[in-house]
């Protein structure tokens, strides 16, 4: 009943004459829809991109080299200072070592005084060079 009320055309003889009510395209059709790809082909070429990357890399390595030069200069300064004060420190340690060594030699002489044939004093290697005593401890009172 409602269909004939909605789609009524005045002067129709039967239900079969009702005008067609459809959901359809507007008159003239829809506007055309673009579905084709349009990726632009402009912009830097491959060689340009490669040269730009290479340029950035070279500039970065150049800055790295500059920084390395500065760091090497700083390290050189530190090592030169250490080299300059090395004799003072070594001389101090030599004095301390000689004192301790003399005490040790006296102790060795006293301990081994009854052993025949013990060449008291030095009993180190045969090469003729001086080697530091191999007790496993550099300074027993410290560590």
């Amino acid at each position: 009943m409602t269909e004939s009320v909605i789609r009524n055309k005045p002067g129709m003889a039967s239900v079969k004459d009702m005008p067609i009510l459809q959901d359809g395209p507007p008159p003239g059709g829809f506007a055309p829809v673009r579905y084709a790809r349009r990726i632009p082909n402009k912009g830097p070429s491959a060689m340009a991109i490669f040269l730009a990357a290479f340029g950035a890399f070279s500039y970065g390595m150049y800055e790295v080299g500059k920084g390395n030069k500065i760091r090497r200069a700083l390290k050189e300064e530190k090592f030169a200072a250490r080299r300059a004060i090395l004799p003072v420190l070594q001389a101090e340690e030599d004095e301390r070592f000689v004192k301790e060594w003399k005490k040790y030699l006296e102790y060795e002489a006293e301990v081994m005084k009854d052993v025949p044939g013990w060449k008291v004093g030095e009993n180190v290697y045969n090469s003729g060079r001086w080697m530091p005593p191999a007790t496993g401890e550099l300074r027993p009172e410290v560590w």
């Binding site: 700083l74 300064e77 530190k78 030169a80 200072a81 250490r82 080299r83 300059a84 004060i85 090395l86 004799p87 003072v88 420190l89 070594q90 001389a91 101090e92 340690e93 030599d94 004095e95 070592f97 000689v98 060594w101 060079r129 001086w130």
Partner: protein
């Protein structure tokens, strides 16, 4: 602990004092140091190089005392900075400039 001299006026050769004065020691005490190193290279026995070692120490300590007398304030500032930053030269540039302006490296 960042003192250059003790109560009697003798220089204390701590690491910060020695590193602060290292450039001066390098220039002024070069002959004694080189002699000591040559002696050591010839014979590493400590008993053989004691006298040269004493010369090197005397030169260095005398130089420290002389530097302290000539420019006390900049040297104390530089030594204090070195002590604070554990002998890092790059962190004490200001005090280093002041010290080298007062006692130039010649």
């Amino acid at each position: 602990m960042a003192d250059v001299v003790d109560a009697a006026g003798e220089p204390i050769p701590t690491s910060s004092v020695l590193m602060a004065a290292a450039k001066h020691i390098e220039i002024n005490c070069m002959p004694e140091n080189v002699e000591f190193l040559k002696c050591k290279k010839k014979d590493p026995n400590p008993e053989k190089c004691l006298d040269k070692g004493r010369q090197a120490t005397r030169c260095a300590l005398g130089l420290l005392k002389d530097l302290y007398q000539r420019c006390k304030e900049p040297m104390e500032g530089y030594v204090g900075c070195m002590y604070y930053h554990t002998n890092e030269f790059d962190l004490c540039r200001k005090q280093q400039q002041a010290f080298e302006k007062a006692c130039p490296l010649e």
